[in-house]
Amino acid sequence: MRFIMTVQIPTDADQSDWEPTPEIVAEMMRYNEELTQAGVLLALDGLTPPSEGARISYSGRDRTVTDGPYAEAKEVVGGYWIIQAKSRDEAIEWAKRCPMQDGAVEVRRITEMSDFPDDVQAAAGELSQEPPEQTTAS
């Protein structure tokens, strides 16, 4: 099974939290290397600060766009890893090894098609007979 581990950064964090030092980056690289050597790492990415982002809120047909940062959120996602693990406990164990000094990492299992009942699976099949453009392997 697969899990996503998201780094949660407090909204009131300094800009410096989004600009890691070479030491922190080196530690993270070591951690990523450990995940790679264990054969569990599938993908990872870091995100730019929410000040560069935007938030789109929905209410029926209305869409409201708010530029980041968003005062009302307590935490924002700073990056993620997708890992393959045997169990939730194993995913938690990997997350515990992440060299974080503060903030949090949230571990969530990624849904598989087989989690859904047959009718939902059938609906998903009808929606997209072809893979979406952006995920096409080149």
Binding site: A38, L42, Q129, T135, A137
Partner: protein, 417 residues
């Protein structure tokens, strides 16, 4: 922490730490059976202490130190199962007490070497294939005996016995703990790759039972393959095998329809392919190619799988290229099964007659006489040529030969069409 919760956490730590732990201990004691006993003792100690004391900051180092102390302790008390084992423990305990061998002190690269050494011990040619598979899953994959038994649909004591015998065989044959190099590496690597691919295939196309696939085994094999590719990054075939498994695994969700019936490649809903795995497979294949050495059979098979992976719709598949790659594969690893696949590729590239010609040559092949895919392919080609009566007979023959219940249903449905 509750007891159940903490024992689950310890299980997870064990799965992560045990391969490196057993590898380092095997290097020190020179015997994989004894190394595993010592590691198990440290696990028992962890299960006793951690629920109360909490998990230490560096659980791997704790387990290592405990296993080491256990060896020293046994040496001092000087009593142990058999004389030979006792002597071994004494020597080892002494050595450890003297040089303070410590996993933490070892550099990353050395730990990786230990692990690679363990992989080669587990896949040593003195062992039967079944023993290699069980030992590799247990010691390198960190799986428990019950997991392995369930995955291979055999009784737990059978697997346990297999592992015990394997360790005895290694001990009796005095298999050295080392990473082969040069010509010997070229000779021994295929056995490692074979074991991993066998585990993958056991999951991918279950040979027996009602389940078409057992995806957990595919994940275990993929993990082992990725570990191996990091341990032996200069071996194109290690990357080739990973590429092949990633791309094949990308189709798992599309390979069975509602109710678990198999869906064949051309009919699969490609939106259900796992494009993350496809991309990983293509990257691994590129790594194999970048090493600049001739591609081996796994990399060529991966290149074939990649042709499918690059095609967003079945009709976009580059069958001419696939036929050429099968041609290369039949030079590298000639076998009637490769020929059968080449026949399919030829039929897709140049028409059903081209394929049927090659299939008909295979009819006399004794090793394919009870292989259900030969009549299945022949039936398909005959059907395309409009020879429906002959096609039906072939599908019926194929249905009678397969051991997989789902596949039989599919073949009988085609016969009735």
């Amino acid at each position: 922490m509750g007891t159940a919760e903490s024992s689950r956490a310890i299980d997870a730590i064990w799965r992560i730490e045990s391969p490196r732990l057993i590898a380092a201990l095997t290097r020190m004691v020179g015997d994989v059976g004894l190394a595993e006993d010592l590691a198990q003792d440290s696990l028992v100690a962890a299960l006793e202490r951690w629920p109360e004391s909490g998990v230490p900051d560096n659980p791997g180092a704790w387990l290592m130190a405990t296993a080491k102390n256990r060896a020293i302790d046994l040496a001092r008390r000087g009593r142990r199962l058999e004389d030979k084992q006792e002597q071994l423990v004494r020597d080892v305990g002494l050595r450890m007490a003297m040089d303070g061998a410590d996993a933490e002190a070892r550099l990353d690269g050395e730990i990786q070497d230990d692990l690679l050494g363990l992989v080669f011990v587990c896949c040593h040619p003195v062992l039967s294939t079944e023993a290699r598979v069980a030992l590799t899953l247990k010691l390198v994959g960190g799986l428990g005996t019950p997991d392995i038994a369930r995955a291979f649909l055999v009784a737990e004591p059978t697997v346990a016995q297999r592992i015990v015998r394997a360790k005895q065989t290694l001990s009796a044959a005095r298999v050295p703990f080392e990473v082969p190099s040069g010509d010997e590496l070229d000779e021994r690597l295929p056995s490692v790759l074979e074991v991993i691919y066998l585990i993958f295939n056991e999951g991918y196309s279950a040979t027996a039972g009602d389940d078409w696939m057992r995806p957990a085994l595919c994940e275990d094999a993929l993990r082992l393959g990725r570990v191996l590719a990091e341990l032996a990054p200069k071996e194109p075939e290690a990357h080739g095998l990973v590429a092949l498994m990633e791309i094949q695994a990308s189709r798992i969700a599309a390979r069975s329809g509602p109710g678990g019936a198999p869906v064949l490649l051309p009919d699969q809903d490609r939106s259900r392919w796992d494009w993350l795995l496809v991309r990983r497979g293509l990257v691994a294949l590129a790594r194999a190619e970048r090493l600049g050495r001739p591609l081996g059979p796994y990399a060529v098979q991966a290149a074939i799988a990649a042709c499918h992976g690059r095609a967003r719709r079945a009709q976009d598949t580059d069958w001419v290229r696939i036929a050429a790659l099968y041609d290369a594969l039949s030079q590298l690893a000639p076998s009637p099964i490769v020929e059968l696949n080449r026949a399919v590729a030829l039929s897709m590239a140049f028409g059903p007659e081209a394929g049927l010609e090659l299939v008909d040559e295979l009819l006399e092949e004794p090793s394919l006489s009870s292989y259900h895919l030969l009549p299945a392919v022949r039936g398909d080609l005959l059907e395309k040529l409009g020879r429906d009566g002959e096609a039906r007979l072939e599908f019926e023959r194929a249905a009678a030969l397969t051991r997989n219940a789902r596949e039989r249903d599919l073949l009988l449905a085609r016969a009735a069409r």
